[in-house]
Amino acid sequence: MEFVLERYNYWIIIVLMMGGLYIVFEAENMIKKLVGLGIFQTSVLFFYVTLGKTAGGTAPILVETGGHGDDHGDGHAAEAGHGAAAVAHGETHAAPVLHEESDVAHQLETVEAEISEGVTELAPNNVDGHASEAHGAQAHGAQAHGAEPGADPGHVANGADAHGAVSDLPSPEFIATPHAPSQAVADAVYGQSGEPLHMVAGDIIYSNPLPHVLMLTAIVVGVATLSVGLALVVRIREAYGTIEMDEVRAADIAEGEAEGDAA
């Protein structure tokens, strides 16, 4: 059952894809063929976007002042738990607060790779941008302040703060909060003070932006092909008086035979 639940989306997409492909091959009418082609291409978009969707994720626009993520609070609570389980770092389960934060399970490899090296592996001021590293430090209880020095104001103020705020997590107000992380998110998102420092980035999961970018390209390529195809259809209609594939083919064959006789 779990197997089905994990894959039903692919199967639906395959059915849609094949529907489009079937129209392309089955239709004799050229415009209908192009419609089928469009459906086939759109279904491929579904496939890529499905790959990039993360459970409980939100659009890949870094949260600065709220707006996004507000209705995802509940989802995060669950995710966090799961993420922690996946991390399988025994010690993270000890403290509920850390537990919540560990939904960066997708960074698992990076975390593990970098734990030994501490927090500042990339550029010096990259710390705040690197949720996984900051998290790695915390999860091991090594030092909550390990991440602090990286949180320089300039960066927290710009888009980076979504992650940057991880370094804020161990601050007392959050640890003291008895609520589920959804409350923490809500606080941050609706932050009355409006200061960008109030980000709880660790709790925001983003969907993968790369498939989106690729599919934007694919959409545009699709419409370009479509306009060329339609222009051809218009010309074929003018030249043959029909846009039914079989009639055009019959006319072509007749023409070829006529030429063959002449030759």
């Binding site: 849609l16 079937y22 009418n29 976007v49 490899e109 990259n126 949720a131 545009v220 699709g222 218009v234």
Partner: protein, 353 residues
């Protein structure tokens, strides 16, 4: 994995997907081209909603603008010049060849689906690979909140350049194939005359008033979508399409001739080339300043090396620059395509509907 999804997302997923399935079946069974074209527009719109549910907001926006908007307009334009009805298809038994192809391809896909990562999984290769790195590094390296824009215009800016060229070459293709030579001129005269008649009896009065109100707003919105693309969904392609829609609306209501006077076809042709040139030249400027093609860090000269604070201006300038190229190219090509289809005298008049 499943419990991680917000239920509303799953409900939307299933509901929209099944709508898409129903639409596909309807298209397979239909013969009225008008219906087919409309349903394909609906398909695009429903898929745009689905993309929204799947967090692909930029894809959703583009699909709505391009798939449901421009594509449908192009289909209708082509249909006006051809026929309204497809021939009824053959019996199911005679269609074994397409069925065979489809079953073959489908089983290959099903074969693969077994090993595909679970839907929504966070630790799939895709979501641990390159894609998610962008989420972390782009605030530092590019500095636009909308990571899709950053990836689109900077990391994979070269893809987008190629994409602009695809649009451009499609415009060239449409001009070469159905052009706006003398036939288009004749057509525009014909349309214009008819419109002059219509002006007499005020029958389009409401439309004229409303459209005069709307067109500036649409253009304004196009600019918003373009320049706000770094912060929210949107960007060059969507803005270009929206701008083209404004011209299309104008030409629908005031006649093709008026539109061609307001925005001459030659502008569209030159503009399409200009768009590609702008995009390319932004890249070339970076090259002249010592960087790689499209390396925006070099757009004002070699990078000074000092840490940029709030905004990474070279990157943002570069992104806006190339997006201008995209807007110009896309808008001009879409207008070109519209002119080309609308400007060709239809063989079938409205009476033959």
């Amino acid at each position: 994995m499943e419990e991680q999804f917000v239920p509303s997302v799953l409900i939307a997923n299933i509901a929209l997907m099944s709508m898409l399935g129903v639409i596909t079946i309807a298209i397979i069974r239909m013969t009225s081209l008008f219906g087919i074209v409309m349903l394909s527009g609906v398909y695009s719109l429903v898929s745009a909603a689905w993309f929204q549910a799947m967090d692909a907001v930029d894809v959703s926006f583009t699909e709505a603008a391009v798939g449901a908007g421009i594509s449908t307009a192009l289909y209708l334009g082509a249909m006006l010049l051809t026929v309204r009805k497809a021939k009824p298809t053959k019996g199911i038994l005679k269609r074994w060849a397409p069925l065979l192809v489809v079953i073959g391809t489908g089983s290959a896909l099903l074969y693969a689906s077994v090993d595909l990562p679970a839907f929504g999984s966070l630790d799939s290769p895709v979501n641990t690979g390159v894609g998610m790195q962008y989420m972390e590094v782009s605030p530092k390296e590019v500095g636009t909140p909308n990571v899709v824009t950053a990836v689109l215009a900077s990391y994979r800016g070269f893809d987008t350049f190629g994409e602009t060229v695809v649009v451009f070459i499609a415009g060239v293709a449409v001009i070469l194939l159905i052009g706006f030579g003398e036939r288009a001129l004749a057509a525009s005269n014909w349309r214009g005359r008819e419109d002059d008649d219509a002006q007499g009896d005020d029958s389009h009065l409401i439309l004229r008033v409303v459209s005069k109100l709307l067109i500036p707003l649409i253009v304004l919105y196009a600019f918003y979508v373009h320049f706000h693309g770094e912060y929210s969904p949107g960007g060059g392609f969507q803005a270009g399409v929206i701008f083209a829609v404004a011209i299309m609306l104008y030409s629908l209501i005031f006649g093709l001739k008026a539109a061609m006077t307001a925005f001459p076809p030659v502008w569209a042709r030159v503009g399409a080339a200009m768009g590609v040139a702008i995009y390319g030249l932004v890249g070339v400027i970076c090259m002249l300043n010592g960087g790689r093609f499209l390396d925006y860090d070099y757009i004002f000269g070699p990078p000074s090396g000092e840490a940029h604070g709030h905004h990474n201006w070279p990157q943002i300038t570069g992104i806006i620059g190339v997006e201008v190229g995209v807007v110009v190219a896309v808008a001009c090509v879409m207008i070109t395509a519209f002119y080309a289809f609308a400007g060709r005298t239809p063989e079938i008049r409205d009476e033959d509907w």
